[in-house]
Structure formats: C-alpha cells, structure tokens
Amino acid sequence: MSWVWFHKLGSPPHFYRIAGRWVRWLAWPAVLLGAYGLIGGLAIAPADYQQGEGYRIVYVHAPAAWLSLMIYTTMAVSAAVGLIWRMNVAHAVAASCATIGASFTVLALATGSLWGKPMWGTYWEWDPRLTSELLLLFLYLGYIGLRSAIEDIPRADRASAVLAIVGVVNVPIIHYSVVWWNSLHQVASVMKLDRPSMPTSMLLPLLSMFLAATLLFVALMLTRARGEVLRRERTARWIGEALQQESA
C-alpha cells in the first residue's frame, strides 16, 4: 500500500496545483450529469401515481439532503486527519466544507418544506428528516461560529476539528433519537417515495443528480481549499512561483 500519494497530496504546493486541474475536470461532467438529471426529472420521467407532478421536487431535494450529510462527514474526516497528522491541507479541506454544507442544508430544508406543503398541508412538520436536518444546520452553524470566533488559524483549525469530530459522532445519535421521538407521534401522511421499486425512468435522473451534486461539491471544495491552503502557508517560497505560473 503506497502512502506516497497521501503525503504528496498533503504537500501544499502539490495540492494547490493538482486541485486547480481537478476542478476543471470535475466541473464539466457535473454540468452534463446535472443537465441530464434536470431534463430527465422534469420532463421525461412519468408522474407519480400518488403525488402527481409534485414529486419532482425530489430531484433537487434528495441530492441536497445527501450533500448536507456527506459534506459534514467529509468535514469531520478531513478535520480528524488534520488533527492527527497535523496536515494543513486537511484542515484547509475541512474549512472549505463548512459554508458549502450549510448552504445545501438550508436548501434541503427549504425544498423539503416546499414539498411538504402540498403533501402534508403545512410548510413545516416535525418529521424526523426535517428535524434532523435542522439540527444538522445548527451543527454547521456552530462549527462556522467557532471558527470565526478564534482569530489564530491553527488554533481555530484544531478547536473546530474537535467540534466536528464530536458532532459527527452525534449525528447518528441525534438522527436516531429524532426518528424514535417522531415514531411515537403518528405523522398524518408518510412520503411514499421510499418504495423499493422505482421505475428506471424515474431512478436514472435521480442517480445522475446525486452524482452531479457530488462532483459539484468536490469542485467547489477544491476551489476554496486552494485559497485556504494559501492562507495557511503564509509566505512560503512556493507561493510566489505558483502565483506567477498562474498569471503567466
């Protein structure tokens, strides 16, 4: 097992260059997959027998919810890597995740709310998914708040890493307790979209959107991470050359 690539990636100048290249390679597939998902989900897929055309919100809501969770996990894992191996690059990645993740959590809540109104009759329901998402948003905001409250970047990196790790341990606990709590209070109607069999014409665009969302996140995160790496490396020698290479 070669750890060379791991340590190479952890080298700031190398990461800065590679990430720049990757963003370009990720952006275009993301656009194409997203376009297919949108067209497939909005136009080609048939209407749902229960929810009619209203179910189409799933094509943006489900990827947003997926991102909100996946990004938090990525944030916690890279924060842990940064803490254990003292890698600035890992801390930079963690810092880059926060705002992106929080914004998609808000999107998941908003689209979930818009989906809930026609299906449940109300814009807000304390159903397990929305409630867990709301708490996840608070976890993100706490992370962002702690980071901005500590001026010294290395200290902010380490403190927020501890918070992210504690948070990620809590996410399943919080989710389970909310599901348990909610199961006791029968919710009026249940979203029937977890049926095991979803026709392929519905499923394919959805999977495409999930993939597009993931690629989009990585591209966004790498873009931010490059800047975060610059901030942490201060006046290291490689920066001058790298910046000159770019403007050339």
């Binding site: 009619g52 919100i57 992106i100 908003a110 818009l114 989906w115 989009l216 800047g227 610059l230």
Partner: protein, 53 residues
C-alpha cells in the same frame, strides 16, 4: 402547457428548482471569490516580505 403547471403543483416545484439554481450559483461565486481574495492576500504578503528583505 400542463408541464409548466406541473399538474397544479407549479408553485412548489418551480420555486424549489429556482432556489437550487440560486444556491448553486451563490456557491460558485463564493468559492471563486474566496480563492481570488486568498490569492490577493498572498500576493501582498509576499510583496511586503520582499520589501523588508
């Protein structure tokens, strides 16, 4: 034009998609601005360091 009306759910479906596009656009803009700012700061730091040297 039933498609635009989304079978009566238009007021929920279209705002959802609009919000999604807005969030994506905001994220792209933010990320690029964050990188641009970091580059500018790095430039300045290196320039002042050269002056001191």
């Amino acid at each position: 034009m039933n498609w635009l009306a989304m079978g009566g759910y238009a007021q929920y479906v279209w705002p959802s998609y609009a919000l999604t596009l807005i969030v994506i656009a905001l994220n792209i803009w933010w990320a690029r601005r964050s990188l641009a700012r970091a580059r500018q700061e790095a430039h300045r730091r290196i320039a002042t360091q050269k002056e001191r040297a």
